[in-house]
Amino acid sequence: MTIDRSFDEPNDQFPVGMRVLAVDDDPICLKLLETLLRKCQYHVTTTSQAIMALKLLRENKNNFDLVISDVHMPDMDGFKLLELVGLEMDLPVIMLSAYGDTKLVMKGISHGACDYLLKPVRIEQLKNIWQHVVRRKKTDSKDQNNSDKPCHETEGGQAVTGTGDSDQNGKLNRKKKDQKDDENEDRGDGGHKNEDQSTQKRTRLFGQWICTASLLLLLISWALILSTVLFPINSKKVLLCYLPIMPLSQHAELFLFLLSLPNAEAVPKRVLDMMNVEKLTRENKYRLYLKRISVVASHQANMIKASAGADSPYLRMGYLNGLGNVPCMAGSAQFQNADIRSLSSSGMLGRLNTPVGLGMRGLSSSGMVQLGHADNLSEPINNQNMFHQVILPGNQNGNILQGMPMPFEFDQLQHKNVVDHIGDLSSANNGSMVFPISSGLSDGSMNGNSSRNSFLGTPHNPVMLQGQPQGIKRDELHGNQSFVTVATSNREYSSLLPDFRRCIDGWPTVQSSEIQSNSFKSSDCFKQDTPNYLIERKSSIAMDTGNKSNDNSSIAAVPAGFSSFENRFTKPSSSKTKKQC
């Protein structure tokens, strides 16, 4: 395994035996790094002190191809070592750290690091580090032929890209460019220097393009900020009114115009006159809006509506029911799509006091929705899954849970919401009965682990099977009425589960127990056990129901419920599992 430095050698020989110097004061990381590098078939030298590393390197710089160094070291800062190695020996250096802060990465790059790895290091990352050696050698050889320009410009392009984008994007771009460069390097054997130059040129241009794009974005945002900050109050009103509805070409004009006007003169009418805006006279505009929106407001509200006029499609849906008919948005034709329409819509709607306004808010963010108004919302809104978080103080259990997503989906996040709101319910209603369910539910959401199944059994079975016998019939699986009667019995928690089931379309109501059994199925070791388990529980549950239930028929019903339950259980429920997922 000799090290060959010429490019003419095929690449698959070279990475093997590459000599790496690893520097890290943490002995665990150092040992791990050493083992990983050996696994990649590199030749590794390790030291825990930066000073020692420098000494080794200075002895003979040709002893090593690559240096990997930790950033935080007690005797010398990793960046300092990086600089020194770059200056004196011109070897590629990779930085390593547990801390991936943007500033640190930036510092590493600006000090000349080839790469910045985060601990814990994976072997996949180390398998590719030889590319830095090859690239460095190629750049060096090009330096000898040409000037220093390509090397610096590539690095400069990379550095600027790092500033222009976010940290991850920058890294990604660099990685992409690295890969692109690698591909270009891999293609063909020696003598493709021209190709490299054009590749680097392309890379440079790409970097420059990204810079200009980001600068443009900056300018636009700056302009927007200026418009709100710099302009006095009248001008702000004008902008608020007219920016959404004026064509983009006139925006610049409007800005400049408002800047030139003193505050007193910058009233909408005046501005319009001076800018010769014909169609959109103040009166026309207001009339159109008033037709559309029947809410009579103060002057401020007029302003709001004026700017909200561009949001007509959103408002139309909402106002259909709440506020009577809405004539066709004839005026909207003249309103052009504005950049800040989306901004103003969420802002404007926030100020509207209608339930629809609240409902709309729920669309954009998962906010609270008063279910009392649920009926008022039109179809499209209803169908959307905005009932993620629902709070209804007290009275109607069934209605609350109607909107809830299926808690038994194996999704802990949604599940948490459900549990939270069960908690809320309990605080609103009669407390302690609900809690066993919430804990049981939270257990039920986790995928079957052998240690967990015991938890799954205990809180669920007694509760659910109490609910079931009273209402289970095959035909009534989709019927809700039986469970309503259960709900009216004194046990409210047992009603919660059937109501959960109600909200799922087409799901049989024994779903929750089935899902529990499904979760059992998901862990294989319980496949055979569960029927026995249930049979065991029969007696204990019969005893439980004897204690808890006032309804004597339920005790007799339990075995019946059980047998149906077991029959269900033997049915292949894989299809249901799929539905569930």
Partner: protein, 156 residues
């Protein structure tokens, strides 16, 4: 008979590992460590883990000294120790410890002594737990190796 013991012991080891994974105490990095163990370095994992325990105890002692100081101002040194602890814990695959250390570091960045103290206690508690579990793991491994070792002549 002995072979059966080795298999059972391996099952025990796997179960313990799965349990620790499920709890979030360990993550895949630990598996990477195991994969690096082979004939040339048969005790790689236990060696690394022992070094880790040794170093971490030193760091934890230093941290405790810093946190319980009356003045309690040397956040910078604390940050350095924590960095090292984060690096080594994540290299081992001790996920939960790493997370606590990260939170600890955030608390020290904000110069919040109460949070630091709380984080330290949590850290020590979890560290003890991890140490016990890993000791258990290595004990079973040793037994398994011994049990399996007797088999080799018969197998060959």
């Amino acid at each position: 008979m002995l072979g059966l013991g080795a298999d059972r012991l391996r099952a025990d080891m796997n179960r313990l590992l799965a349990f620790l994974f499920h709890q979030g105490v360990l993550d895949e990095q630990f598996l990477q460590l195991q994969q690096l163990q082979d004939e040339s370095s048969p005790n790689f994992v236990s060696e690394v883990v022992n070094i880790y325990f040794h170093e971490s105890e030193k760091l934890l002692r230093n941290l405790r000294g810093l946190v319980l100081e009356r003045e309690f101002s040397d956040y910078k040194r604390m940050g350095i120790h924590l960095n090292q602890l984060i690096g080594s814990s994540s290299s081992i695959g001790a996920k939960r410890l790493t997370n606590i250390c990260v939170a600890f570091r955030a608390a020290s960045d904000q110069n919040n002594p109460t949070a630091c103290l709380r984080a330290l206690e949590l850290l020590e508690h979890d560290y003890c737990y991890l140490k016990n579990k890993l000791h258990e793991f290595f004990q079973i491994e040793q037994q398994r190796v011994m049990a399996a070792g007797v088999r080799y002549p018969i197998q060959n």
